[in-house]
């Protein structure tokens, strides 16, 4: 299969798994406004996943649509980074994951909106605008918790420390020629945004150490299987069901 197909799976799977995980906050968020906000972040991610996976299926030309790709692939066939499959943890952990992922997605989509491939550029241009809201939402909360009470500061700091090792995978060499970009080149601009937010939140950037890897090759964390099982079982239990 082509490099672009694999690349679209990666883009789509990052968004799909982030959507599924974030949506777990429905009916569990600390307040109604945050529940609605997180549900909308998840819905944006789901919309992006649908666009990328539909595109991947069209490109493959084997009759797999977005549903076949989302619900009928097994764990090792998913190309998402491990960051998006991590458990939600407390609210601060979700805020940290959202900030670090959305900042990356916003920079990536902005660059992809200038890709030579028009369909990729079109989806990316739309997705870039959506992820800008996610960055702003997560930034506000990172600052509010980090520069808040001693307790909220400690939990926000712990959250960033906990997910930091999973951010390196975002910048590993992995891209289709059609994308026209090197993921490693995104880390500088990403650190600029993240440093600014962490600074305002009175938090230090964690030191780089151990780095998670393998998601793009289909190696996932122990938390991924249960997430997929929950996401896929209705589709698999009722084959061909329609609304």
């Amino acid at each position: 299969m082509t490099a672009l197909f694999d690349y679209l799976l990666g883009l789509g799977d990052d968004a799909l798994v982030a959507a599924q995980r974030t949506a777990e906050w429905c009916a569990r968020a600390p307040q109604l406004e945050e529940e609605v906000a997180l549900a909308n972040v998840a819905l944006d991610q789901l919309g992006q996943a649908r666009a990328f996976l539909t595109y991947a299926g069209d490109l493959e030309g084997a009759g797999r649509d977005e549903d076949a790709l989302a619900f009928l692939r097994d764990e090792h066939e998913f190309r998402n980074v491990q960051l998006v499959e991590l458990p939600n943890g407390d609210f601060a952990t979700t805020v940290a994951k959202t900030l670090l992922l959305a900042t990356y997605q916003n920079l990536l989509y902005t660059r992809l909106s200038r890709a030579a491939e028009p369909r990729l550029a079109g989806i990316a241009a739309k997705a870039a605008k959506e992820s800008a809201f996610h960055v702003s939402y997560a930034s506000v909360w990172t600052v509010r918790l980090g520069d808040g009470t001693p307790l909220s500061h400690r939990r926000m700091r712990d959250a960033v420390e906990e997910v930091w090792p999973y951010t390196h995978e975002l910048f590993e060499p992995w891209a289709a020629p059609e994308a026209g970009l090197d993921p490693a080149a995104l880390r500088g601009p990403w650190l600029e945004v993240v440093d600014r937010v962490l600074g305002e939140a009175t938090l230090a950037r964690p030191r780089d150490g151990w780095a998670a890897t393998g998601g793009r090759e289909g190696r996932h964390t122990e938390w991924f299987g249960p997430l997929l099982a929950e996401m896929q079982y209705v589709h698999r239990a009722h084959v061909g069901a329609r609304w």
Binding site: N40, R119, A132
Partner: protein, 154 residues
Amino acid sequence: MVKAEVEAAVRAVPDPELQVLSIGELGMLREVSVDDDGNAVVTVTPTYLGCPALELIKADVAAAARAAGAADVEVVVSMSPPWTTDWLSETARAKLADAGIAPPGRLSLPLLQPGCPRCAFPDTTELASAGAAACMALRLCPGCGEPFEHLKAH
């Protein structure tokens, strides 16, 4: 002239989520073409990628075009160029305000704090940066004491 009738009919299709607005006023309708046999192709752009109402909008558009005399209807969804709040018509902005939603500013102009859509009090405060949609902020008006939604320019 079938094209004019089809175009007027699909332009007037109400948005399923914001019923006060039509897809024409929202700027979601990109193009309408009708060939000599009366077959129509209607191009729409969703306001965001995850729009759950898109299937319903496509069905409503197809039904409206047929009712206006189109023989066959194809509804094409185009993501590019991406929808922007700048495509909202003046009528749409006025209707949003009437429905209690502060309309967005223009992207080309400096961003101003939205005034209260109910009592026009100018100095309002943000309660939550994301409300009913990620692009919708929840604000409070100290003038009338009521919360209201603000569609952020994007």
